[in-house]
């Protein structure tokens, strides 16, 4: 059975519960040069629905995607808005390139909200069909504001020109069933089914602050609604709090020219070239089509970067048990796996008939996507769980309960270290033995989050709140918790050990939304290849790469086809950092953006970076508006910088002793491990502060990390309330 069976009786019961609370009719019109030209506003408190125009200044300043999200959200909230305030929104947008069929990785949606974890704006990039279908249905973005007084669905029928808010008392909350129910309700034929995409969450999102969104795409071969996740920052928790079970779009009629681009032949030429490059290069490079992103687990373990036991270590002898082959054996391969049409990099792997051993689906055979590297590293290595089946089962439950696998994995790893350090015990955990490696306990914590009970609810609050709870209620040392709790700005770290890469410490610590690797991944460039040795070099990398990668979020793009496959000549024609930029692929994006939008002012990769810089700085100022966005919020836990404990120090003593001698000018001979560890800490913490100074300077920010008024004006984001905000903090 490939998917949960929706019986005719069940269908009738679902339909019987639908009462239309509000309707909005509009004239469907084709997308023009990548833009629908309007956004959709839905308020589930007062059941209002409206369209808002998109003007040229909005396009030129914010581009689309994450940029549109930020602008719409900025105008919806005040500095006092909290995640559970009625005015908070879930905003989703695809951007002008989103919906391209010819080029791989062009179907992403970007979701944003005020985060329950960070208290400020968070964005999350996700696959699935929702964003592109929403655009073809007539809207560049959707804002969902308000809190419904009962469970509802928001339904957009792009072919009929109809938006509805309807009651949904009977639908499931968990995505595994709910996404199938949405397909069954709104699509009849295979063509209609692949024209339906839903945004859903799950019960776990309602019982925690680490809720994710699931965005669906219907797989015509496997005949199942597959799921991709907007994991970071608890946006699923916001959706659940609004009592919105699903936001659904339906639009049937996709063709290769549905974006009505300015120059279709260029799109075709660039796309066909890229498909060929993947055909030839992926099998000899990263094998994404076969392994998915989990090919990285071996690489990270080999380079001592795989987070093991709450980021204490970077490798483990048992890691081989969660390498790619242990998961590939569950996958059905040899058919398309792109999460949008034309993605031949096809990293979205799928396990069919996967047997579940625990929880409400125990004994069932289910379909589950993934796991991604982040999930394997977070729930597997970081929690010491060298059990592929348990990791994939946790992946399934995280998705269906609506829980972010990264925050869950990193958060649980923190709780496990607390347990092993004696801060927690069985009495406190309600009987759970939270030792590293206890797969049964890991799954039980997950089910507790699903049920909203027990110690799982504590883990679901995220590390920042766990630190507070453990200090206040268990008497733990707050300094030790601060050192080992891998969160920054309230968001849990994604899954890379940064101790040996100062630049990546900044890549995480200086990221707008918190420590997620989508802004910068500089570990090889910095720590392995030593290509950015000085503070200025690192600052330049921490300017260029976050700005460049922001471009993906503005345009509905996936990052992977940029540098997870490279032209054969890339490392011949270019060296060092230039090669890392993959100039031919940057040019592909210039060509694509121009071909779709017809914007002749965009001519080089630097023009794309300039586009991003506006939005990046705007997001930094959004943090400031919400009471954050200054230097103290860029502080990072010492676990991400160096060894917190003597045991950690001694595990790599040779490396650290050498660094003390050669970099810090301290002779470690005769020093105790305590003394050496503290000396190394002083050195490394000082290095981080110097890095922060250099990056702020390069980005045009003052020493507190606030963009200067001059910078704001240069970027053209000098809206009156932005200027007032900056002046207030200058």
């Amino acid at each position: 059975m490939p998917a949960p069976l929706i019986t005719p009786q069940r269908m009738e019961a679902l339909k019987a519960g639908h009462q239309v609370l509000a309707e909005f009719h509009y004239e469907p019109r084709p997308v023009d040069k990548g833009y629908a030209g309007q956004t959709l506003y839905v308020n589930v408190s007062d059941n209002t629905i409206a369209a808002k125009p998109v003007d040229d200044r909005m396009k030129h300043t914010f581009t689309g995607g994450r940029g549109f999200d930020l602008w719409l959200l900025w105008n919806a909230v005040t500095g006092k808005t909290r995640w559970d305030s009625s005015e908070n929104e879930v905003v989703i947008s695809a951007g002008p390139i989103g919906g391209t069929t010819q080029y791989p990785g062009t179907g992403k949606s970007i979701a944003a909200a005020i985060s329950p974890l960070t208290g400020t704006v968070v964005d999350s990039n996700v696959g699935g069909y929702f964003g592109p279908l929403l655009k073809f249905a007539g809207f560049d973005a959707i804002e969902v504001q308000g809190i419904a007084d009962r469970e509802v669905i928001v339904f957009v029928d792009g072919n009929a020109g109809l938006v509805q808010i309807m009651t949904a008392p009977e639908e499931s909350v968990n995505t595994y069933e709910l996404a199938e129910e949405m397909v069954a309700l709104f699509g009849k034929t295979p063509e209609e089914k692949r024209g339906v995409s839903s945004v859903t969450s799950g019960v776990g999102a309602g019982h925690s602050l680490i809720g994710c969104l699931n965005l669906s795409f219907y797989d015509i071969r496997r005949q199942v609604a597959r799921l991709k996740q907007a994991g970071r920052g608890g946006i699923g928790t916001v959706l659940r709090h609004k009592k919105v079970k699903a936001v659904v779009v339906k639009w049937v009629g996709l063709k290769g020219d549905s974006l009505h681009p300015d120059d279709l032949p260029t799109m075709q030429q660039v796309g066909a070239k890229m498909h060929r490059e993947i055909y030839e290069r992926d099998p000899i490079m990263f094998t994404m089509r076969y392994d998915g992103t989990n090919h990285l687990t071996k690489v990270m373990n080999d380079y001592d970067i795989l987070p093991v036991h709450n980021f204490q270590y970077g490798a483990h002898p048992e890691a081989v048990k969660i390498y790619s082959p242990e998961f590939v054996k569950f996958f059905s391969l040899g058919i398309p796996d792109g999460c949008w049409y034309g993605c031949t990099l096809a990293c979205a792997k799928c396990a069919e008939g996967f047997e579940i051993y625990t929880g409400p689906h125990k004994g069932e055979r289910v379909t589950v996507d993934g796991p991604e590297y982040e999930t394997v590293a977070g729930i597997g290595a970081n929690c010491g769980i060298w059990d592929a089946h348990a990791v994939l089962e946790a992946n399934f439950y995280c998705d269906t309960y609506g829980i972010d696998t990264i925050s869950f994995g990193t958060g649980l790893a923190f709780a496990m270290e607390c347990y092993e350090a004696g801060i927690l015990n069985k009495q406190i955990t309600g009987g759970l033995e939270l030792n590293f490696g206890n797969a049964g306990a890991m799954l039980e914590v997950l089910h507790q989050i699903g049920r909203g009970e027990g110690f799982g609810v504590t883990v679901g609050q995220g590390i920042r709140r766990m630190k507070q709870i453990f200090a206040e209620q268990v008497g733990a040392d707050p300094k030790f918790l601060q050192d080992i709790g891998m969160e920054c700005k309230g968001l849990e770290y994604s899954e890379y050990v940064t101790k040996e890469s100062l630049a990546q410490q900044g890549g995480y610590g200086l990221a707008n939304k918190g420590p997620q690797h989508d802004e910068a991944w500089l570990i090889f460039m910095d720590a392995v290849n030593n290509q950015i040795p000085t503070f200025e070099d690192k600052a330049e990398a921490l300017h260029y790469f976050p700005m460049w990668r922001t471009f993906f979020g503005l345009n509905g793009l996936c990052k992977l086809p940029w540098n997870d496959v490279e032209p054969a000549a890339n490392r011949v024609d270019y060296k060092g950092i230039q090669a890392a930029k993959v100039p031919e692929h940057v040019q592909n994006y210039v060509d694509l953006f121009r071909a779709i939008t017809g914007r002749t002012d965009i001519q080089t990769g630097e023009d794309l970076v300039a586009m991003s810089e506006k939005v990046y700085n705007f997001q930094r100022l959004f943090n400031l508006k919400m009471g954050y966005g200054t230097r103290e919020h860029d502080a990072i836990p010492y676990r991400s910088v160096g060894p917190v404990t003597n045991k950690e120090y001694e595990s790599r003593a040779e490396r650290y002793d050498k660094q003390l001698r050669e970099l810090a000018g301290i002779d470690p001979d005769g020093m105790t491990t305590d003394q050496k560890r503290l000396a190394l800490r002083r050195y490394r913490e000082d290095q981080y502060e110097k890095l922060v100074d250099a990056v702020y300077k390069r980005r045009g920010w003052n020493e507190q990390g606030i963009p200067t008024l001059q910078k704001v004006r240069e970027l053209g984001i000098d809206y009156p309330d932005v200027v007032t905000l900056v002046e207030k903090h200058s």
Partner: protein, 140 residues
């Protein structure tokens, strides 16, 4: 299955096959719209590129627009095709084609019109052993 078989030794590179192909399917004499491509490789060598009906593109198509018909010929359903050109990039013989004037790609469907017109007898329609069944076909 039926395929168009080429014989490079007999080909004289007159390009008539390209012209009749484009005329038959696009009502234009335009070699860039042909599903067979003749290339003079130098040293009197000639390359003839045409679909082998191997069917690998069937498993690459995200919409299921490519399938094999009753006589084994691989065909594109333009109504289902979204013009992603994945099949173009993933064709082992580089014989799935596209053109600026069209959203969808195109390929040889073993119609035999070119074989009938070839003055050198370098083309023929033949029945050969079926290609291996694709993953998509196995799942049906």
């Amino acid at each position: 299955m039926k395929i168009l078989v080429t014989n490079e030794d007999l080909c004289v590179a007159c390009y008539l096959c390209e012209e009749v192909c484009s005329h038959a399917w696009f009502k234009q004499v335009n070699r860039s719209k042909s599903s067979i491509r003749i290339t003079a490789l130098g040293n009197a060598e000639i390359g003839m590129a045409v679909c082998s009906q191997c069917g690998e593109c069937i498993d690459v198509c995200p919409t299921g627009a490519i399938s094999r018909d009753k006589i084994g010929v691989v065909r594109i359903d333009k109504k289902l095709c979204v013009g992603c050109l994945s099949c173009v990039g993933f064709c082992p013989t580089l014989t799935m084609y596209y053109h600026d004037d069209y959203v969808e790609p195109f390929k040889c469907i073993s119609c035999g019109i070119c074989a009938k017109e070839c003055p050198a007898g370098a083309l023929s329609i033949e029945t050969v052993e079926d290609a291996p069944v694709t993953v998509t076909e196995r799942r049906k």
